[in-house]
């Protein structure tokens, strides 16, 4: 009961924190160079791991679909089903989970360390608001970069599926591409990108909050980072379910 209450209080404080972030985001000064630096860290820095995951997911998924669809002599649909699943589900979710592990944990650790070594207090003492200076750029960068990384995942994932389907499973290239076009609608890609925007907001708010609210020295920072990653991952999966349910129903 106690712990439930503490968890709810913590959640409430995180919501207030998110509202404060919005208030500080729309107020000058706008520090564009900080946003760009965070985009480089979150986006460029995660490109490799997201690309590698995309490649392997696309390749494996193509092989599995080929194995399944062969039983109905429907291998031609492998390309379409790979593209469809990537765009709507695999890319946004895998990207969010990979970026949480790589950049989200780093954000929580960095801000947490700044909190416990009084660097955040020092910033406040110099009349610079740490939410505006530290948190807002990270959240904006995440909201912009998550969809871009998801797009990267889509492209590399489909390329991986193409290589497996056409060159390994020997599916004729014509039907592979033709059925992809038939299957796919721009709305499917947008659906995934829309999810990515939501995931970017969720992951960045949770990880910055865990860092910003850290306490208790190095140990506290470590625990905060672990919680940030676990909470972000669960929240992404939950949000994925909710968005999917709202958009396609049962």
């Amino acid at each position: 009961m106690r712990r439930l209450q503490a968890a709810l209080e913590d959640f409430g404080r995180m919501i207030l924190f998110a509202l404060e972030v919005v208030a500080w985001a729309v107020r000058p000064p706008f520090r564009l160079e900080l946003v760009v630096a965070q985009m480089a860290f979150i986006g460029v820095g995660s490109a490799f791991i997201v690309g590698a995951t995309g490649l392997s997911a696309g390749m494996v998924f193509a092989l599995q679909m080929n194995y399944a669809l062969k039983q109905f002599a429907a291998e031609g649909y492998v390309g379409g089903s790979v593209a469809f699943s990537l765009a709507r589900e695999l890319s946004p979710v895998f990207t969010a989970l990979m970026v949480t592990g790589r950049a989200g944990s780093a954000i929580a650790t960095e801000l947490g360390t700044m909190r416990v070594t009084e660097q955040i207090d020092a910033m406040e003492s110099m009349a610079v608001n740490p939410i505006q200076y530290l948190v807002v750029p990270r959240i904006i960068a995440a909201i912009v970069m998550f969809p871009l990384l998801t797009m990267l995942f889509n492209v590399i994932g489909y390329a991986g599926g193409f290589v497996m389907g056409v060159y390994v499973a020997r599916i004729p290239i014509g039907p592979f591409l033709e059925h992809t076009r038939e299957f796919m609608d721009p709305a499917d890609i947008l659906h995934g990108l829309y999810k990515a925007v939501v995931f970017g907001a969720i992951v960045s708010v949770i990880t910055t909050w865990r860092g910003y609210a850290a306490a208790g020295g190095a140990k506290g920072v470590g625990e905060g980072t672990t919680r940030a990653v676990v909470m972000s991952s669960i929240a992404v999966l939950l949000a994925d379910y909710v968005i999917t349910f709202i958009s396609v129903g049962t």
Binding site: T117, A127, N129
Partner: protein, 248 residues
Amino acid sequence: MIEVEDLWKSFGTNQVLKGITLSIPKGQTYVVLGGSGSGKTVLMKHVIGLFKPDRGLVRVNGVEISRLDGKPLTDARQLFGMVFQGAALFDSMTVFENVAFPLTEKGWRDRKSPDEIRARVVEKLEVVDLGEEVLNRWPSELSGGMRKRVALARALVSDPQVVLYDEPTTGLDPITTDYVDQMILHAKQKLQITSMVISHDIASAFKVADRMAVLYDGHLAAEGTPEEVRRSTDPFVQRFLSTWFAKQ
């Protein structure tokens, strides 16, 4: 300039401050003495609004800073410079970027040109006896005392009206300590800066203080001019000061 009235603060069951009242007139230096863990840092952080009191208030320049939040609080801190006990340098920034931070992050209206900022940073580092060779070093590459001196330079770089020093000389050698004392005196005499100094160094305290207080068990066990505090009959104050005056 600074008025603290009946300030109470606890953390959980730990009642740290139990009704502190003090006032620091403009241009004066106020020293707070007290044992480790007596709440000196907590008191100082209330003055700049980093902690909110459970009861009582803090006024700076007539503004009740203890009730401000958000943007008004951030703006009110334009008046201040603060040296943190642990230096609290930004470890993702070089020494130059650290000291320049209060200048580069000022609103665009009163922002200085890069050349002016550089000149100012070099000048303030010189005051704490650090040369240009440290400008591009990272805080992790400095000794503890050097870090403290960089923190001093950073607190003074924007010429604040009020400077809060949390143990500015702890960890410094006697010569540098004397240097910092001179700096505090100079800031008062030349720039009419109002200072609050937390110190463990009784010799320094008596050198720089216009008024002083000894914090004990959440109260001010003694408060007044250095002479008044020295003649205090409070047993803790007696014991606290005797450790040093015995050596004289």
